[in-house]
């Protein structure tokens, strides 16, 4: 088995996380924001897996299962919200829903 150095795994996770975060922060289309969040989840999952393989523990994979479930739940709620948003505003631009400003 070819072992990948743990630093490589973590670096990839970091890059993926930052890309996802950037997407969340700058995209205005709410679908893309949700997708960027999926990338962040997966980056975190990758970090767990990497950690788990480094210490030869199953905990990392258990946590990844948890993250996966969370992501599924999030998408379900998120997409439902997107549909409602679209029905109400006829757009998926996230800046339209800024009624809660102080």
């Amino acid at each position: 088995m070819i072992s990948i150095p743990v630093e490589h795994g973590l670096l990839l996770a970091t890059i993926l996380f930052c890309l996802g975060l950037l997407g969340v922060l700058v995209r205005r289309n709410i679908i893309f924001v949700l997708m960027s969040m999926e990338i962040m989840f997966n980056a975190v999952g990758l970090a767990f897996i990497t950690g788990g393989s480094r210490w030869q523990q199953a905990d990392g994979q258990v946590m990844f299962m948890l993250v996966l479930t969370l992501a599924a739940a999030e998408v379900a709620v998120g997409l439902a919200l997107v549909l409602q948003l679209y029905k109400k505003f006829k757009t998926v631009d996230i800046d339209v829903v800024s009624d809660m400003k102080g």
């Binding site: 969340v24 922060l25 700058v26 924001v33 829903v97 800024s98 809660m100 400003k101 102080g102």
Partner: protein
């Protein structure tokens, strides 16, 4: 009978409660108001007869009603103490008080606040009785403040007009200055002697303190402050003339016969303490002399009938202070009593004149009332004679005692005597000026006595008798003032001068205001006369001085601090918080991405801080 002593202040107090709490109809209110004081007067009479029947050495009675307060070493009982001094005061308060209540029924007849008036009057009598019967200084102070309160309420009785309210506040605040000094005096006495029971206090002051040392001097001076305020002596005298804004019976009862003499009573009651402070006692004499002279001159030029009497009251109180100052305690109390008779008479008579003149008080708008108002006229003549201290009237005996004691006083007694005799001369002038201007001369009005009834005339007649013959009453005060020297009788030139002074005064007044009125006009017309008149009319400019010296700076401070300097600090805090609030709410944009950016930045900062601190400390 003596055991009923507690009922004497209780009846007026019950009268007050009844009148204040139940809205009684007018006729019933009069019965309750006058009746309660009448019963107190009858009880006092019974007590006096029994008390004076006892042998002189046993003439002390103490009645403890209940424990009032107790805290640590300090206890104050609600106890009454009766000795000849308290008895004399009690007789004056209930006796004269009853006559004035009776008179008030007629005087206040048409007033809509009839029962409120009697409620206050009854409360006053109760408080004054507590003052003179109090066994300890705390109880005395309770009565002292009680009469001050009633004085305030009654001066401002006709509160519709702002001047009356102003006069009431002035009286309250000026006397409060003295009361504060007195309260500090009480604290000092308790701190050093550990008791406020008057008899114990006097005993232990004599045992612990040397004559003329600092502590008794300080304590006596502080108590004197209270007495000066209450008795309207220099420099706290300015409230009394303005206090005449109240109804005339009030001026008679509170501001002539009883309350203003409380200062004299206080000094007489604590005379052992004052004897330990000869310096203070001398100051008492000097203040008395100055006040009697200054207010005598002021009374010379007043035009308001009640203000003349007010200044003359101050002047007579000056005589009492002089008597206290030279150690003639019993003479002071004697003069207090006779003064209560004739000054109450004069005030009530002036009240009768005021009613008949339909509330006109300017003496120069009266004139020739001698035939029109015979009862008032004769009351005024008799009261005036006693006030001027012509021989055989009551005022003569008491004033003569005072002047005699002053003449032999070791410390510049002859100067004090000379000034006091000059004061007696001036008393003669202003008293007869008042009578000549009001009752003689040209007939200017159509007044008559049809509007005054028997309840006004009867008190006047009784007081006339007392003013004439009250000097024959022997006041058995020798045991109260055991240290007092036998009062000497004046002899030779001094005696002649003392007796002659009021006659000369009356002669001068006769010349100026009856015989040759053009003479007084001539004096008033020249520039010096005008200036003096204006100066005296204003009460020697004391009001002006206090206005400039005390009131104006205080008002300036108040205005400067109108926005409340202290509050500005708290306003600053509120302003800062509001600023922060505005900044925070600005960050609330409603854009989710900004919030996410904030969270990301926060995480970076926190993680960065953690890493950095690890490098720093570990």
């Amino acid at each position: 009978m003596l055991n009923l002593l507690w009922l004497v202040p209780t009846f007026p107090l019950a009268g007050f409660l009844l009148l204040a709490l139940c809205g009684l109809p007018k006729r019933l209110a009069a019965w309750v108001g006058v009746g309660s004081v009448g019963i107190a007067a009858l009880l006092t009479l019974g007590i006096a007869v029994e008390f004076l029947g006892m042998p002189a050495s046993e003439q002390v009675f103490r009645q403890t009603l209940w424990q009032w307060m107790s805290s640590g070493d300090f206890t104050a009982t609600f106890a009454l103490y009766l000795d000849p001094l308290a008895l004399v005061m009690m007789c004056i308060i209930t006796g004269i008080g009853f006559l004035i209540h009776l008179y008030s029924v007629g005087y206040m007849d048409e007033d809509p606040a009839f029962s409120r008036f009697f409620a206050y009057m009854n409360l006053f009598v109760a408080a004054m009785l507590v003052l003179v019967l109090g066994d300890n200084l705390v109880l005395l102070y309770l009565g002292w403040e009680g009469v001050g309160l009633c004085s305030y309420l009654l001066i401002g009785f006709w509160y519709d007009s702002p001047e009356n309210g102003y006069a009431a506040r002035k009286a309250f605040i000026v006397t409060r200055i003295g009361d504060t000094s007195m309260a500090i005096g009480l604290f000092l006495l308790f701190m050093h002697l550990g008791t406020l029971d008057i008899q114990q206090l006097m005993q232990s002051a004599g045992d612990n303190w040397a004559q003329g040392s600092l502590l008794p001097t300080l304590a006596a001076a502080l108590l004197l402050g209270g007495a000066l305020g209450k008795s309207a002596q220099l420099p706290l005298q300015t409230w009394l003339p303005d206090a005449m804004a109240g109804p005339t019976p009030i001026s008679a009862l509170i501001h002539a016969a009883t309350m203003v003499t409380a200062g004299v009573y206080l000094i007489a009651r604590t005379h052992e303490l004052f004897m330990l402070a000869p310096e203070v006692l001398f100051v008492v004499a000097v203040i008395g002399v100055l006040t009697l002279l200054i207010s005598g001159f002021t009374a010379l030029v007043q035009t308001d009938i009640k203000r003349i009497l007010a200044f003359s009251t101050m002047s007579q109180l000056g005589y009492m202070f002089l008597a206290l100052g030279v150690g003639a305690w019993s003479a002071a109390i004697f003069h207090l009593m006779t003064h209560a008779f004739f000054k109450a008479l004069l005030f009530l008579a002036s009240g009768a004149v005021i009613i008949c003149m339909h509330h006109e008080q300017d003496i120069f708008k009266m004139g020739g009332l001698r035939k029109r108002l015979p009862v008032s006229f004769w009351s005024f003549v008799i009261g005036g004679l006693a006030l001027a201290a012509l021989p055989l009237t009551s005022g003569y005996y008491s004033k003569h005692e005072i002047l005699g004691a002053t003449h032999v006083f070791a410390r510049s007694g002859d100067t004090l005597w000379a000034v006091a005799v000059l004061g007696a001369l001036i008393t003669g002038i202003y008293t007869s000026r008042l009578i000549f201007v009001v009752f003689f001369g040209a007939d200017k009005t159509h007044a008559d006595e049809s509007s005054i009834g028997l309840n006004i005339k009867l008190p006047l007649i009784i007081l006339c008798v007392l003013s004439l013959f009250g000097g024959l009453i022997h006041v058995p005060l020798d045991r109260v003032f055991p240290l007092q020297q036998v009062l000497p009788h004046l002899a030779g030139t001094a005696n002649a001068l003392t007796i002659a002074a009021p006659f000369v005064g009356i002669l001068i007044a006769y010349l100026f205001f009856y015989g040759k009125p053009e003479l007084s006009e001539k004096v008033a017309a020249n520039s010096l006369g005008k200036m003096l008149q204006r100066f005296w009319f204003s009460g020697w400019g004391f009001d002006w001085l206090y206005q400039k010296l005390l009131v104006n700076p205080l008002m300036w401070l108040v205005r400067a601090n109108k926005k409340d300097v202290v509050d500005s600090f708290y306003h600053l805090i509120a302003w800062l918080i509001r600023l922060l609030h505005r900044l925070l709410s600005m960050s609330q944009t409603g854009r989710v991405q900004w919030y996410a950016a904030g969270i990301a930045l926060g995480v970076v900062v926190i993680v960065g801080l953690g890493v950095w601190r690890q490098h720093l400390w570990f």
